[in-house]
C-alpha cells in the first residue's frame, strides 16, 4: 500500500536551498544540531556522575579524559551547545505566547541569543581558566 502511494507524484513545497539565509532560519537549524549534540553529551554527564559514585580510580580516569585537550574541546563545545540551546530556547517560549513575534523583533532577539551564547561560553571558560590559574 505504501508503495502504491509513492507512485502518486504530488508537488513538493520548496525546501532550504531556494531561500535566502536569515538569522532566524540559521538559529532554527542550529537549535536542532546543538540539541542533538547535547543528547549525545548526556552520555558524558552520566559517565561523570557514575565515575564520582564509583570511586577515586574511576573519577581519576574521567578527569584524565576531561583534562586532555580533546576532552577540553568537547567540553568547550558542550558549553556552547548548552548555552545556545538555552538562549535560543527562551526565544521559543516567548514566541509560543506570541510575544515579540514579528520579523524585526525576531531578528534582533535571534542575534542577541547567538551573541549571548558565544559571549557566555567565553565568560564561563574565562572563569574556569582563571580559577585554574591558566590565564
Amino acid at each position: 500500500m505504501a508503495e502504491q502511494r509513492q507512485a502518486v507524484e504530488r508537488p513538493l513545497s520548496p525546501h532550504l536551498q531556494i531561500y535566502r539565509v536569515t538569522i532566524t532560519m540559521a538559529m532554527s537549524i542550529l537549535h536542532r544540531i546543538v540539541g542533538v549534540a547535547l543528547y549525545v553529551g548526556t552520555a558524558l554527564v552520566a559517565w561523570w556522575l557514575l565515575a564520582t559514585a564509583t570511586g577515586p580510580d574511576a573519577y581519576a580516569a574521567f578527569q584524565s579524559v576531561a583534562g586532555h585537550w580533546v576532552g577540553q574541546i568537547i567540553l568547550f563545545g558542550y558549553t556552547w551547545a548548552l548555552l545556545h540551546h538555552l538562549f535560543g530556547g527562551i526565544r521559543y517560549l516567548f514566541w509560543d505566547e506570541i510575544v515579540g513575534l514579528n520579523n524585526k523583533t525576531a531578528d534582533i532577539v535571534s542575534w542577541l541569543a547567538l551573541i549571548a551564547s558565544l559571549g557566555g561560553t567565553v565568560i564561563v571558560w574565562g572563569i574556569v581558566c582563571t580559577s585554574r590559574g591558566v590565564i
Binding site: 500500500m1 505504501a2 502504491q4 502511494r5 536542532r32 540539541g35 542533538v36 547535547l38 543528547y39 548526556t42 552520555a43 554527564v45 552520566a46 556522575l49 557514575l50 564520582t52 559514585a53 570511586g55 577515586p56 573519577y59 581519576a60 583534562g67 558549553t79 548548552l82 548555552l83 538555552l86 530556547g89 527562551i90 521559543y92 517560549l93 509560543d96 564561563v124 572563569i127 574556569v128 580559577s131 585554574r132
Partner: protein
C-alpha cells in the same frame, strides 16, 4: 484493507473522524514545561560544573552529596531526559523514513534516554545516601 488499495484519499483523510488520539498534545506541552524548568536548572548545572572543574574526588563527592545539590541534580536529570527524549523523537519523525528504520530509531531513542537517565539517577542517589 483490500478496498483501501484503490482508495485515492490521503492517509490523513482516511483516519479523520475515527476518533481522537486524546493525548496527542501531551509531548508538545511536556516539551515546553521541561523547557521552562531547564532554564534555571541548566544555569545551576553550568555554575556547578564550573565550580567543580579540577576538583579532587573528595570535594566533588562532598558537593554532590549535599542534599540541595542532589535534589537539584535529580530535577535537572528528570527534566533534561524528558526534554531530549521528545526532541530526538521529533528529529527522528522528521528525517527518518521507512517503517522499520523509523521504529528502530524511536525505540533506540527510548532505550538511550532511559539508560542515561537511570545511570545518572542511580549515581546521584548512591552518592547522596553514602555521603
Amino acid at each position: 484493507m483490500a478496498t483501501a488499495r484503490k482508495d485515492m484519499r490521503t492517509p490523513l483523510a482516511r483516519v479523520r473522524a475515527l476518533g481522537s488520539a486524546k493525548s496527542g498534545t501531551s509531548d508538545h506541552i511536556r516539551q515546553r514545561i521541561t523547557a521552562v524548568a531547564l532554564v534555571p536548572l541548566s544555569l545551576f548545572f553550568i555554575g556547578f560544573v564550573v565550580m567543580l572543574t579540577g576538583a579532587d574526588y573528595a570535594t566533588a563527592r562532598a558537593w554532590l552529596g549535599n542534599p540541595i545539590v542532589g535534589v537539584a541534580a535529580l530535577l535537572l536529570i528528570a527534566a533534561a531526559i524528558m526534554h531530549m527524549r521528545i526532541g530526538m523523537q521529533i528529529v527522528i519523525e522528521d528525517y527518518v523514513t521507512g517503517h522499520r528504520l523509523r521504529s528502530a530509531a524511536l525505540i533506540a531513542n527510548f532505550f538511550f534516554c532511559y539508560a542515561a537517565g537511570f545511570a545518572c539517577i542511580y549515581a546521584v542517589v548512591k552518592i547522596g545516601f553514602s555521603a
